[in-house]
Symmetry: C2
Subunit: 189 residues, 2 copies
DNA sequence: ATATATATTCTAGCATTGCTATATTTTCAA
DNA sequence: TTGAAAATATAGCAATGCTAGAATATATAT
């Protein structure tokens, strides 16, 4: 009997609707507008139902953050493959990273400032997180010996640029110049 | 009659007590523990008094963030003067930046993630913000032609490193290596 | 010195939030 | 069809940011 399967499917669907609604609201009105009541209304169930899917509000944000890391990884890989040459790929990846952050500000916020509980270097690290790091390492790797240090530094530079751009603390216009500086640093030995 | 002066002094003192209490609580228990009720209790006044000093809770965080930028500026300058040579100064400044973020995590959080409303490149930008940027530029400046781009990129790299370290997403051990990489990039033409 | 006006502070409460205990309904198997 | 179990809803708690209005203290003018 496929009853259990159907129920499982329906639950997964509803869970998806929850995160989708949360993402939509967060992107259009900010994370403060993402309340349990609002989400319950959106999916047309009562509030306690949400707690049968997620332990608490933060867990919803964390789930979305993990989605985001998966999407970021594919976006970076797509950029890497679209461009030939080491330096060209690095620059493409860097620009893709910043574009991603700019296109989904609430998602990026979930990934890097809301869901701080998601560690990287631990045993329970979700594959999506490792994969995003790996996508960056692939772009950095071929050109350098100290891959890990270089990748961490590359990531930090990109994240810093994304964050300071978002908060309007560095000029929006000089993005390309800053990326060129970062990339030129990492491309050479 | 110095009555108005006395009142002004008392008000300023009370305001200082509010931000001091908020900072203390934030550093020891996190920003969630910084509630208006808690602060009111701490300064031994009723809650509405706080609203005669600050428009709302966020304004308290913003005031603390500005304090933080001032302190960061002096810390960076101290590091720059303590070390001779261009490259040496750059590295000292970088390490001082990361140490500052590590020593006052709640303060740093206030500066860069809580008080997002504080813009840099606008007319109403507080001098403390400009000064912190200037302190970085002083360290970057002598070695480069494109000072502004280089300073923005330097800042972004440092902020990214601080943020990813704080959230445990890059290894705590390799800090020096990453800083060396960043500095070597900016020191050379 | 006293009364009045002004400034200051407090009490009490509203609306919203995350979350949960409990009641109710629906679903499935015997 | 009926009874157990799973799923869902109602109602409410405690905490939060914030504010209206009452009450108190303070300074000035007579």
């Amino acid at each position: 009997m496929g009853i259990a399967e159907r129920k499982g499917r329906e639950r997964a669907e509803r869970e998806q609707r929850i995160t989708a609604a949360a993402r939509l609201i967060a992107e259009s009105e900010g994370w403060n507008a993402v309340t349990i009541r609002r989400l319950a209304e959106e999916i047309e169930y009562s509030q306690p139902v949400l707690y049968s899917h997620f332990e608490n509000r933060d867990a919803i944000v964390a789930a979305i953050a993990i989605e985001g890391f998966g999407e970021l990884a594919t976006a970076l890989r797509q950029a890497a493959h679209g461009s030939a040459g080491c330096q060209g790929a690095l620059e493409s990846v860097a620009m893709a990273y910043l574009a991603f952050a700019r296109a989904h500000p609430a998602l990026y916020e979930a990934m890097f400032t809301k869901a701080t509980g998601l560690r990287f270097a631990e045993t329970d690290t979700r594959p999506e997180l490792k994969d995003a790091f790996a996508a960056l390492a692939e772009a950095v790797g071929p050109a350098r010996a100290d891959v890990e240090v270089a990748t961490e530094t590359f990531w930090a530079a990109l994240h810093g640029l994304a964050d300071l751009e978002r908060s309007g603390r560095i000029r929006q216009g000089a993005r390309a110049a800053r990326v060129r500086l970062v990339v030129s640093c990492l491309a050479e030995p």
